[in-house]
């Protein structure tokens, strides 16, 4: 060890005047065991993204550098998150508390299976978007800072998935929100400003509601560490207004996730930015909202979730049906995809409403599937519009003849998004349906099926009009430049969709384990407080 680098515990005693002569027992406040290098895995994804994002901010105008820094960084992110999932799946949850303070004094980062699986899926999606952006984002967009914002967005998303502190969760929400603002107005077109205003106001309101709820959590529990809250929640049941708190959390997270009564910001804004940004948003942002809903309602307040489950189920059913109906009514493909995102959110919330390991595992599996498929859907629409020269179903046509491979990808992605076999959308829907029928909520399973039926109609019509219909007006053939950067991400995502559609064992098993640790958080609490923790 470097003799100059000693931790604060060794030397600050003689650097400052300390009244007591007896040595201070630091083990009452600090983690004394040395930190294993492997524990850094839980911090490293965020730290890497912030570091590289900072470097990219510094070289913002040297745009040729951006791809060379961002893409290897995103590859490293995916690798680290893969290791994280592996380690958590084998050894169970693990924790690192920043600043060496004993939890709950320090801010804990805890990786459990649900968080790390979602982080891995979002890393894959970000890599796909980063590669697609090499061609889709022009020099102006890069100078506005597409890549720095992308990496900071990923820091926010990954941080939200891996943090173990509820106030820190709020901070990561804000990190991803501010980078999403930057991405949304990339280029400052009039339409984007219109969309961004609505997005900004309503999302800011949502996070403020979350902050209010966090304030009440602190007022009730006197702690913000989620493991600490989870283990104390039982003591406060009956005396503290936990139902009010849960309702506030549900409202805040429903707003972030675009659930039915508070979903109108999403179709108002998601179609305005560049398509690769829409792809990222459609894949990631709403999922962070449902992740937080699962974390808080399933892990922290299970009893309240049980009591509010009927409300959640109604929200879920309305969200998925209205999302699907909205998709049916759109002729702009991007807005259609926005409503398809909402329909998916309804399915995930249905899983939360059903509860128990079956319901929650269905919700987790659906989230993983939705992250990949919704990004793929938006990228596909981007390709279709580039080749067909329009976003609108009124004028698109002839894509089947012009781009057979895109048509094949569209076939896979549409089937997956509608939940038809043999692709990845089938399995979470089956799990959710079975879970809903098992608890006797036949109307919820009916809603899932109706929503899937309407989505099938919608996407089938898109295939019919945009792909099979003969071309209406001859348009210039788009340049083939950068075909690899454009098609590789789409091909990669389609490969994932096909593979996990045919071999669903691994994701189903992992999401069941994730749901089990979430519903019974003893392992999670144990990883944060190995010795029972501080008072």
């Amino acid at each position: 060890m470097n003799p100059f680098l000693r931790s604060v515990t060794d030397r600050n005693t003689d650097a400052m005047a300390v009244p007591t002569t007896a040595p201070i027992d630091l083990s009452a406040a600090m983690v004394m065991a040395p930190t294993a290098l492997a524990d850094w895995l839980v911090i490293a994804p965020m730290a890497l993204m912030i570091t590289l994002g900072a470097v990219l901010m510094m070289v913002r105008h040297r745009i040729w550098l951006h791809g060379w820094i961002a893409i290897p960084g995103l590859v490293a992110l995916v690798l680290m998150e893969g290791l994280l999932v592996y380690r958590v799946a084998v050894d169970g949850p693990f924790t690192m508390t920043a600043g060496r303070w004993l939890p709950p004094f320090g801010i804990s980062f805890t990786a459990d299976l649900m968080g790390s699986l979602l982080a891995l899926a979002s890393g894959l999606v970000a890599l796909a978007a980063g590669i697609y952006g090499l061609r889709d984002i022009d020099a102006t967009g890069r100078r506005y800072g597409f890549y720095p914002f992308l990496l900071l967005l990923m820091a926010g998303v990954t941080g939200a998935f891996l943090t173990g502190d509820i106030f820190n969760l709020y901070v990561w929400f804000e990190v991803l929100l501010i980078s999403s603002f930057g991405l949304l107005i990339l280029g400052s077109e009039r339409q984007q400003i219109d969309g961004a205003l609505k997005y900004a106001v309503l999302n800011l309101l949502g996070t403020t509601l979350f902050l209010i709820a966090v304030g009440y959590v602190y007022a009730i529990f006197g702690t913000l560490n989620m493991a600490d809250i989870a283990r104390q929640a039982n003591d406060y049941r009956g005396t503290a207004p936990l139902m009010t708190l849960s309702a506030l959390f549900i409202l805040a997270f429903a707003m972030k996730a675009a659930a039915f009564p508070v979903n109108f910001w999403l179709p108002a804004s998601y179609h305005t930015p560049r398509i690769v940004v829409s792809a990222l948003f459609g894949g990631l942002l709403t999922k962070v909202g449902v992740y937080a809903l699962m974390r808080v309602m399933v892990m922290l307040f299970p009893v309240e979730r049980e009591q509010l489950s009927f409300l959640l189920a109604i929200i879920a059913a309305l969200t998925m049906v209205i999302g699907a109906l909205g998709a049916l009514a759109q002729s702009d493909l991007r807005r259609m995809a926005g409503f398809a995102v909402i329909a998916g959110i309804g399915n995930i919330i249905a899983g939360v409403a059903i509860g128990g390991v079956p319901g929650v595992s269905g919700a987790i599996l659906y989230s993983l599937h939705s992250i990949i498929v919704m990004t793929a859907l938006y990228l596909l629409i981007g390709e279709a519009a580039r080749i067909g020269g329009s976003w609108s179903l009124q004028t698109l046509g002839g894509l089947y003849r012009d781009a057979p491979w895109i048509a094949a990808a569209a076939f896979v992605i549409f089937f997956a998004a509608a939940g038809l076999p043999p692709f990845s959308g089938l399995w979470p829907k089956i799990i959710l349906l079975k879970a809903a029928l098992d608890i006797g909520a036949w109307w919820l399973s009916a809603a899932i099926l109706i929503s899937a039926l309407i989505l099938t109609l919608t996407l089938g019509r898109v295939f019919l009009l945009a792909f099979w219909r003969p071309r209406i007006e001859p348009s210039a053939v788009p340049s083939a430049a950068g075909a690899l950067q454009r098609s590789a991400p789409l091909a990669g995502l389609v490969a994932i969709i096909v593979f996990f559609g045919i071999f669903p064992d691994l994701p189903v098993r992992l999401s069941q384990e994730a749901a089990a640790t979430l519903a019974d958080p003893r392992a999670y609490i144990q990883s944060v407080f190995p010795t029972g923790g501080a008072e």
Binding site: V8, W40, T51, A54, M57
Partner: protein, 139 residues
Amino acid sequence: MNTLILRTVAPPITALMLVFSVFVLLRGHNEPGGGFIGGLIAASALAIYGIAYGVSAVRRAIRFHPMAIAGFGLLVATLSGFVSVFVGVPFMTGLWIYPRIFGVELPLATVISFDIGVYFVVLGSIASIALALEEREFD
């Protein structure tokens, strides 16, 4: 706001505020102050200069783009958290060194470098917002 009084007073005030912001930054370790408030003071110094001489004069004077300054600060702050990986303690643990410079023991810590990072983040981001607002007002 192109008055003679402001144009005369702005350079010394800006210089004074910048020096004061560094003082507040370094004082912040054990007393009220710190990187955030220091960065705010520095950003308002630049804003005053911008009001008096125009935004392009400020941009020339600080040489780097404000967002690049913010990026630098973010980098410094994150890397400060990473020093602890070499000592086997968790992320963001405060670490101290005590080099003797001219016979005086000077306690330096990763806490201070983190605070310096915060200073630049705040300076850069607030200055870029302030300059953007001023720019629209004057052109």
